[in-house]
Amino acid sequence: MTTKEVAERLELKGLTPVFDKPVTGVYISDMVSDVIANAKAGNVLITLQVHNNVIAAANLVDIAAIVLTRGRTPAPEASALAEKAEISVFSTPMDSWQVATKLYEAGIR
């Protein structure tokens, strides 16, 4: 599955252009140091956190896409950084558990 397919399947709202990349798994965290230590390249990161540092951490570990839950939207500079890093950022009114459930149902492990 790719980031584009994930966005379509979960009806996510794109906050950046969609950079279509293979999805290798999912990681859920609101801590940047935890993302650096535990997320894997190609993961979809599910988070409430919209700080620039989350984008910088996601870029460091080569996250494929970020899904901001409960309708969060980042500041314009964070979106611009994500776009520069070619990381798709999506927003959804769902909470993190609901997003994770839907990704699991879509076959992502």
Partner: protein, 179 residues
């Protein structure tokens, strides 16, 4: 946990949660930080000879070491407080300018900030550790032509750091924008 695959030379080990504790010396106003693995962050003031150190701030964080799977050697990163992306730095500063220059080659620049930097240039031992850290992150990248370059703190970021710049979890709700 670390996404190690065949072909990955390095893997993350000894992952431990704790706190970055920032403190200042009452008389000189000098600042420093350290990692505490305790469940409750220590905030008591204490004496160290004539100096009195007071708690300034804290952030949850995760520390780790890296193991070379070819040799079994573990490189410890106790000194690493956090990483700063060049994009978090002042746009009229050297780090940002270097970062933008590196971007033309799809290289993303980060600066490794240590808890207790020594006076003068970074020690050779620390440079060697950063070589390992760079290898770890770069061997995991999947985006074609992308590179990560983590530099030692030649820029004195530790002395003038703004907690929000550092990729530890300081004040991360400050820029939150509700939909």
């Amino acid at each position: 946990m670390d996404g190690a695959r065949p072909g990955h030379r390095y893997r993350m080990v000894n992952i431990r949660s704790g706190y970055v504790i920032v403190e200042h010396e009452v008389h000189s106003r000098a600042m420093r930080s350290y990692f505490s693995p305790e469940g409750v962050p220590p905030i008591e003031e204490y004496r160290e000879g004539p100096q009195i150190w007071k708690f300034t701030g804290q952030a949850q964080t995760v520390h780790f070491d890296l193991m070379d799977s070819e040799t079994g050697v573990v490189t410890r990163f106790d000194d690493l407080m956090g990483l700063v992306s060049y994009t978090a730095c002042r746009q009229d500063g050297d780090i940002y300018r270097l970062g933008e220059l590196a971007q033309e080659q799809r290289i993303w620049l980060y600066v490794a900030v240590t808890h207790r930097p020594s006076d003068g240039p970074p020690r050779a031992e620390w440079i060697e550790k950063l070589r390992v850290l760079n290898r770890y992150f770069n061997e995991r990248l999947q985006t074609p032509n992308k590179k990560i370059l983590i530099l030692p703190d030649y820029f004195g970021l530790h002395a003038e750091f703004n907690h929000g710049q550092i990729m530890a979890d300081f004040e991360l709700t400050a820029m939150e924008v509700e939909a």
